[in-house]
Symmetry: C2
Subunit: 146 residues, 2 copies
């Protein structure tokens, strides 16, 4: 199992913004984020759109504008971000019962759903602030990116 | 997050063999399994090899040969199968710390690892026998496939 690159970069971008905000620079352009995270600006622009759409970040216009956190990092749960960005269909039958020949009578689907919920519940215990609680290396990144 | 098709078909093949075994037909050829699960024989042959390599199934030779369970379904944990077949690198940094620019000082990696362990621990609670505890529809599949 693997998180999609989309979710992965969404989490990294939020971490960057949390650290950047601690330094008094709450906004970062898509280009700055893309450079800091070593990903294409095109891909990161889509990630930024999703973060805005789900209310985790917002875009500010103007000379010092860019993407900024829309939520307090101490209240933003990693589980909420993963639930919003990550596809939830752990197996093909989660989306389409006809995708598997043994869906009827299957006791595996329920077990997988419970496991997925355990995974997300564990991430609900962690805030964005927890992820950047040791920001020394992250600060270097922000200093380099800005 | 999504299981790979490889793990998905590995679990389905084991479920098929468990039900088939209950009917007194413990062996199934790769072709029979492929037909029943609606997947290419080429793909299923690789899955069967992996199931054998990890000791979940074994190949019997001869006229009535084929793949058969190597373990009692009541003792074979779904978590063990997923741990064996599924890539464990939830994010790129799990395999290569240099794959992410913010690995140093990152508090997310540990949270993801704990969440992954919760996912697997939940699947450790489920046996292959639990997955086929309501085998009526599965029996139809086996009857059709054999």
């Amino acid at each position: 199992m693997r998180l999609t690159a989309f979710t992965d970069y969404g989490l990294r971008a939020l971490m960057y913004l949390a650290v950047s905000s601690q330094r008094g620079a709450p906004c970062a352009s898509v280009q700055t984020l893309a450079d800091a995270l070593d990903v294409s600006p095109h891909h990161l622009a889509k990630v930024a759109q999703a973060l805005s759409r789900h209310g985790f970040a917002e875009t500010r216009r103007g000379r010092d504008g860019g993407l900024t956190l829309a939520r307090d990092p101490r209240e933003l749960r990693v589980g909420a971000v993963v639930r919003a960005l990550e596809p939830s269909d752990l197996a093909p039958c989660f989306e389409d019962a006809g995708a598997c020949t043994i869906t009827r009578g299957c006791g595996l689907r329920g077990a997988l759903a419970r496991a997925q919920e355990s995974f997300l519940a564990e991430l609900d215990r962690v805030t964005l602030a927890d992820c950047v609680a040791q920001p020394r290396a992250l600060l270097q990144l922000v200093a380099h990116g800005s």
